[in-house]
């Protein structure tokens, strides 16, 4: 059996994360800005206390959550990253190398989907759109995801390499975002950072295992890192929107040094080099995507678009 340490129990506890009570249920917490029950576990949902997308939608409907345009655009970027990653990871469920990984990757996908729903719901509040309007009825150039998240799953090592970069980035980002001047972004980040902390642990452990396992796993891990590393650059690029968002957001370039230090430390422990490839030209934040996104969206959106206006 694969020694997955404490992941398994956490993953099982989190199996309902993102589900929450059905819509329209009474919620005990009247303020959508709460960081949630301070004793809440990172992976166990605590309905009524934890911040849920439904709470944000309710706040939007009541007019108490209304981000300014730049903040909504910023939330859209974070939401799209998480949504596309969740869509990618969801494909692993029933295909993992071990049942424990079906559970773990499924759990991470669920967390990401939960973050996506929160960010998209909040962004949509600026434009009178729901999370589903944004997920299912935007065209490819209207998505704001970075290229890293769009990359195909590849083999397990490629997925782990993508996860390692994604979690390292998201952990630093959300940690800083908890101090956002926008209380809703701070609240979403407060919940998300606890979950991404676990994603980072999961991918770090696998980088070490695969790099230090067999010759084949070492070769595959290095190949996975080489394939994904060029997409690191885009994550830390600043642009005019970031200046407009101001202290409601996090300046991407400000995270780069710690990202480099933290990832280099793990790779050093794993005995592999930080890939030296030049960075790829990004463009995702401005709607210029990889070749892969179109297929992903076609699959994700097909049923919803077959029945426009239907509810599910």
């Amino acid at each position: 059996m694969i020694p997955t340490g404490s992941h398994h129990s956490q993953a099982r506890d989190g199996s309902l994360a993102g589900v929450g009570p059905s819509t329209g249920s009474h919620h005990r917490n009247p303020t959508p800005y709460s960081l949630g029950d301070s004793s809440a576990s990172a992976t166990r949902i605590t309905p009524g206390n934890a911040l849920r997308p439904e709470d944000i939608a309710l706040a939007a409907a009541e007019g108490t959550a209304h981000p300014r345009e730049a903040v909504a655009e910023y939330a859209l970027r974070l939401g799209d990253d998480a949504l596309i990653l969740a869509q990618r990871l969801g494909h692993w469920i029933s295909r993992g190398p071990e049942l424990e990984e079906d559970v773990a990757l499924g759990n991470i996908a669920l967390d990401q989907l939960g973050h996506a729903r929160s960010f998209l719901t909040y962004a949509g509040a600026a434009w009178g759109k729901s999370e589903d309007d944004l997920a299912y009825y935007r065209r490819e150039p209207e998505f704001r995801s970075a290229h890293l998240f769009e990359q195909p799953n590849g083999d397990f090592a490629v997925t782990i390499a993508r996860q390692f970069i994604a979690a390292s980035y998201q952990y630093l980002l959300y940690r800083e975002l908890t101090r956002s001047s926008d209380p809703m972004l701070a609240a979403i980040a407060g919940k998300a950072v606890k979950e991404v902390d676990y994603h980072l642990d999961h991918s770090t452990q696998w980088v070490l295992r695969l790099a230090g396992g067999t010759e084949e796993s070492n070769r595959r891990m290095i190949a996975g890192l080489e394939l994904m590393w060029p997409f690191v650059g885009e994550l830390f690029e600043d642009d005019p929107l970031i200046a407009e968002v101001g202290d409601a957001g996090v300046v991407p370039s400000s995270l780069k040094e710690e990202f480099d230090r933290a990832t280099a430390a793990v790779l050093a422990e794993a005995g592999v080099e930080v890939p030296a490839h030049p960075m790829a030209t990004g463009g995702g934040r401005h709607g210029r995507h990889s070749e892969h996104l179109g297929y992903l969206l076609a699959e994700m959106q097909v049923l919803a678009r077959e029945y426009p206006g239907a509810s599910w």
Partner: protein, 320 residues
């Protein structure tokens, strides 16, 4: 497995007494080889069903029509992986390893529920599977919470709780569809039509043709015959389908005042046997997918084992 275990009169007496007072057998208790064998067969088959059963629903994760439904479906399929793990662990207490059970599945020697050899061709199938397939599973499994083998009974308590949630979400999907657009309602009715008979056949052949039922009942593993459970299930569907405003594709359903049970029309047991014999729509596909995941993951499992061995060797060196 203790196939050739020595005669143990004291053990047999204890076993008989435990069964007679409807108490629990635990892993370290002596038990007849046949009892152990029957449990391994039933429990591993149940575990395999959870694992293969992930596939028809995973088929719709990437296409779920709303983000909330996608989250619920992901959580549900993930629960099934958890049930499989839980049941494999419970079965391991009988002396058969998970690797042995996996090998038996991949070699085609162990069975899984035939229902998963049918394809999921529309989103409404997610509703029908939850409502009917999980509903049939719960009807079967709730009595297993009182099964005489302790680890199995305890596993079933937890599994039934989650299955009840799965059934409610399936019902909710169908309810939403049947009250949606005409196209959505037609999609729901079509799914109910396709899954009705296969879900009734999940209870197994009629008692007269069920070779394992009587022994299982004598050992307090099973509590009710296949036909009684099937009839109960039909009664549940017959009531709930009214709320859905859909129809069951069986004009013969009625409550029989004489037998105080639900009657239903004849089922096509020839089809059941065909699917069981491997000639269903998706048998080959389901097995191929399981094998592919297993084979593609072999290098990962080897790496994890090699890494763990190196870590433990280096810990030993440090300790020395």
């Amino acid at each position: 497995m203790a196939e050739n275990q020595p005669v143990d009169d004291a053990g047999q007496a204890n076993f008989d007494a435990v069964i007679a007072k409807d108490s629990r057998i635990e892993p370290k208790d002596w038990m007849p080889a046949d009892y152990r064998h029957a449990l391994v067969r039933q429990m591993s088959q149940h575990a395999h069903s959870e694992i293969i059963g992930m596939q028809p629903e995973a088929n719709w994760i990437t296409r779920a029509p709303s983000l909330k439904r996608k989250a619920i479906l992901m959580a549900k399929v993930q629960d099934e992986a958890g049930h499989g793990l839980y049941l494999y662990s419970a079965t391991e207490t009988l002396g058969t390893t998970r690797d042995e059970m996996t090998e038996a599945l991949l070699a085609g020697k162990a069975r899984y529920s035939s229902i998963f050899n049918y394809p999921t061709v529309s989103w409404a199938d997610m509703g029908a599977i939850g409502w009917m397939v999980d509903g049939a599973a719960i009807t079967n499994q709730v009595p297993l919470c009182r099964a005489s083998y302790g680890p199995y009974a305890r596993a079933m308590v937890r599994i039934c709780k989650e299955e009840s949630f799965h059934q409610r979400q399936g019902f909710e999907i169908l309810l939403e569809l049947s009250h949606g657009t005409p196209g959505q309602k037609a999609m729901a009715q079509d799914a109910v039509n396709r899954w009705y008979a296969p879900s009734l056949m999940m209870f197994g052949p009629p008692d007269a043709d069920s070779p394992n039922t009587s022994k299982s009942m004598a050992w307090n593993i099973k509590r009710f015959g296949n036909d009684e459970l099937r009839s109960r299930f039909v009664g549940m569907l017959a009531e709930q389908v009214k709320v859905l405003e859909l129809e069951l594709p069986d004009p013969d359903i009625r409550f029989n005042e004489d037998t105080k049970s639900w009657d239903y029309g004849p089922l096509d047991w020839a089809e059941f046997k065909e699917v069981l014999a491997g000639r269903g729509p998706c048998n080959a596909q389901r097995m191929e997918r399981r094998r592919a995941a297993h084979d593609d993951g072999a290098w990962v499992r080897e790496a994890a084992a090699a890494y763990a061995a190196k870590q433990s060797a280096s810990n030993d060196r440090e300790a020395a």
